[in-house]
């Protein structure tokens, strides 16, 4: 039937017309106004995570959080003084943040915003378990 494929076409799903079915811009511009508060909160959390990862020596994870921040339409600011957190504290921060992002994704009015928030929550969930 089919061969491999894009991430979402898995086994035979390309035949079902899934490819390209999602607009899904990750840019924050144009998002529905009702989600502005959720995006501001998500950007703030990502900025904290960037700073926490850098302070902890988790440079690779900091790169990922910068990607999240950019997708949310944020720019990194110079963090204020941040005590060096333990890696376990960073994991706890990730788990807590994942919970908040899932809640925000559930309530987001704009579908693209919801998907982005849910995806970042999923990434945090994965990172928290590593």
């Amino acid at each position: 039937m089919l061969t491999h494929l894009s991430r979402r076409s898995i086994l035979g799903l390309a035949a079902l017309g899934l490819a390209g079915c999602k607009a899904g811009s990750s840019a924050a511009s144009g998002r529905a106004e009702p989600d502005a508060a959720a995006l501001v909160a998500a950007r703030s959390s990502e900025a904290v995570l960037v700073a926490a990862c850098m302070a902890t020596g988790l440079a690779g994870e900091a790169v990922v959080h910068r990607q999240h921040l950019a997708a949310l339409g944020g720019t990194e600011t110079v963090p204020t003084t941040l005590n060096t957190p333990a890696r376990s504290a960073v994991r706890a921060l990730l788990r807590d943040n994942a919970d908040k992002l899932r809640s925000a994704a559930t309530g987001a009015v704009d579908g693209s915003t919801a998907a982005l928030l849910a995806s970042i929550a999923a990434a945090h969930e994965v990172a928290a378990r590593e």
Binding site: M1, S9, L11, L16, G20, K22, A115, A118, S119, A121
Partner: protein
């Protein structure tokens, strides 16, 4: 994409994942096989939940295919684990689409948000490299 279209696509994805986990389980043993069977059960449940949502909307859930072509040959445990990671990656993609297509705080949105995280964690557990944005097209 309408919510119903997204639900039907998600159902098709889960039907394929269920089929795929049958293949995965056949090539594993011990704890990895048990984990594959746990995932199979989870995806069967998810498939049934999506089917119920489609029925509740007044539509008829499409049936799955009798067989699916695998994305690559699976003839040893390593390939089976890779397939499992690929299946979960695809499930995350279907969940992304469903999140995007559903209304705020709707039952389908709530489920899809959880499914996206679940699939991403499972893909990672099978050894798939972590994605910065799980499920994103």
């Amino acid at each position: 994409m309408s919510e119903l279209s997204a639900l039907k696509s998600a159902l098709a994805a889960e039907q394929a994942v269920v089929y795929g986990y049958g293949v995965v389980g056949a090539h594993l043993s011990g704890a990895p096989r048990r984990h594959a069977m746990d995932r199979l059960t989870k995806h069967q449940t998810r498939r049934d939940e999506i089917s119920a949502l489609i029925t509740a909307s007044g539509a008829v859930p499409p049936g799955g295919l009798p067989a699916y072509r695998l994305p690559f040959p699976v003839d040893d445990p390593a390939a089976a684990r890779r397939l499992a990671g690929s299946l979960e990656d695809g499930a995350a993609g279907a969940a992304w689409d469903l999140v995007a297509a559903t209304a705020s705080r709707s039952p389908a949105r709530r489920l899809a948000v959880g499914w996206l995280a679940d699939a991403a964690v499972a893909a990672s557990r099978w050894g798939a490299p972590p994605a910065p944005f799980p499920g994103r097209p």
